[in-house]
């Protein structure tokens, strides 16, 4: 999604195209590494989610700014039976 503001059309040289290809390849590798690292964080994150739910019950959910609303236990979501991802 571009910023849709301001650009000037120009031809890309072979040198620039090659540079872009190399950067895209490196970005693909970087992305794969992030996905793996975030997958490895799953058990810790599950614990963070539980602690989050406890805070919602005890102190409340930030609905707007500092306005907090306590969420009863039976209002909390149930973990769906599917793979959970945080990086898309």
């Amino acid at each position: 999604m571009p910023f849709l503001t301001d650009e000037i059309e120009h031809e890309l040289t072979d040198e620039v195209k090659k540079w872009l290809e190399e950067e895209i390849k490196e970005q693909d590798e970087r992305y794969a590494k992030i996905v793996a690292e975030m997958k490895a964080l799953d058990p810790t994150r599950d614990q963070w989610y539980e602690e989050f739910f406890e805070r919602l019950k005890k102190y409340g959910f930030n609905r707007d700014g500092d306005q907090r609303v306590k969420i009863p236990d039976d209002e909390l979501p149930v973990k769906p039976d599917r793979e959970h991802k945080v990086v898309y």
């Binding site: 907090r68 945080v86 898309y88």
Partner: protein, 303 residues
């Protein structure tokens, strides 16, 4: 494909590379943070070596830049840590140099990095959009409740750039020590952030330290949020920022997007109905009569 979801990433974990694209000269090293695979727009942290200099010139892409560490001399003006530049495409910047070296964040918004040596602006440049400011010295922190629903107290901003067409924003944000906010957020826009200093924590991704970075596509869950010792960062959105808050950590981007549409249908039902009924007739978006109406001068405004 545009830019992939890069989150979290810390530029301190990788080495600088020499820039090989023409025009940038020696002493310009960079780390790529994210890159649009269609148009080559990108965000890079850049290390200029002590003694680096480049001649006056312009980029074919719109460019934003902030001095992270050190100082640079732009023309005859010294710009120190925190100095921000919004440079329209084709705008010829004066010569840039640094005596002791500098760390910069460069954001090429509409195309790949380019530098054409010139002391004249490109004829198509919208030069009136150029601005620069010392963000640390010349702007005060404002509460983060610029949008509603808003972030909690303790998250503050300094607005650096605002696009009235797209509502895209560039801003500094900070979290005070012991800031915390217990909700999950997503937006209808892409969002980007780079930690200039300090660490924040996010429930999905863990700690983001100094040099930490994210490019987050629309509808990605993020939060709860916290920062033990505080942090300062630069953030950007590519269109209007609206905070959709909730507390379901397992919702997917598709579900979040559908929820956004459901909320739009409740909030603006007539507009929503029009969009749904007529969208298929407007593959490039609906017509804005202010862009296309005949004007007395015989021209049209094509943004």
């Amino acid at each position: 494909m545009t830019r992939p979801h890069i989150e979290p990433f810390c530029d301190r974990d990788v080495h600088f590379k020499n820039m090989t694209l023409p025009g940038f000269g020696s002493g310009f090293q960079y780390k790529m943070l994210s890159l649009d695979t269609d148009i080559g727009s990108c965000t890079m942290s850049v290390q200029l070596s002590g003694g680096y200099s480049r001649p006056p010139g312009f980029s074919y892409s719109e460019l934003e830049m902030i001095v992270v560490e050190g100082s640079i001399t732009v023309g005859d003006k010294e710009c120190v840590r925190g100095h921000y530049f919004f440079v329209p495409a084709g705008y010829a910047m004066p010569a840039i140099s640094t005596e002791q070296g500098a760390l910069l964040l460069l954001m090429y918004n509409t195309g790949e990095p380019s530098l054409v040596e010139s002391d004249e602006h490109h004829p198509l440049s919208r030069t009136e959009l150029y601005h620069d400011v010392d963000t640390y010295a010349d702007i005060v922190w404002a509460p983060g409740n610029l949008v509603s629903p808003s972030v909690a107290s303790g998250c503050m901003i300094k607005l650096l750039n605002f696009n009235p067409q797209t509502f895209a924003m560039t801003f500094l944000y900070c979290m005070t020590p012991h800031f915390h906010q217990d909700n999950i957020s997503y937006h209808d826009c892409a969002e980007e952030g780079y930690h200039l200093w300090g660490t924040s924590w996010m429930m999905q991704f863990g700690n983001l330290p100094t040099g930490g970075y994210f490019w987050r596509p629309p509808y990605i869950n993020h939060g709860a949020f916290a920062s033990e010792n505080g942090c300062i960062a630069i953030g950007r959105t590519d269109s209007k920022l609206f905070n959709h808050f909730h507390y379901n950590p397992w919702s997917t981007p598709d579900e979040n997007e559908e929820r956004s549409a459901a909320r739009l249908a409740r909030r603006d039902p007539i507009l929503y109905k029009w969009c749904v009924n007529k969208a298929h007739n407007h593959p490039h978006g609906p017509e804005d009569f202010e862009d296309t109406m005949q004007r007395r001068g015989g021209h049209k405004h094509d943004h």
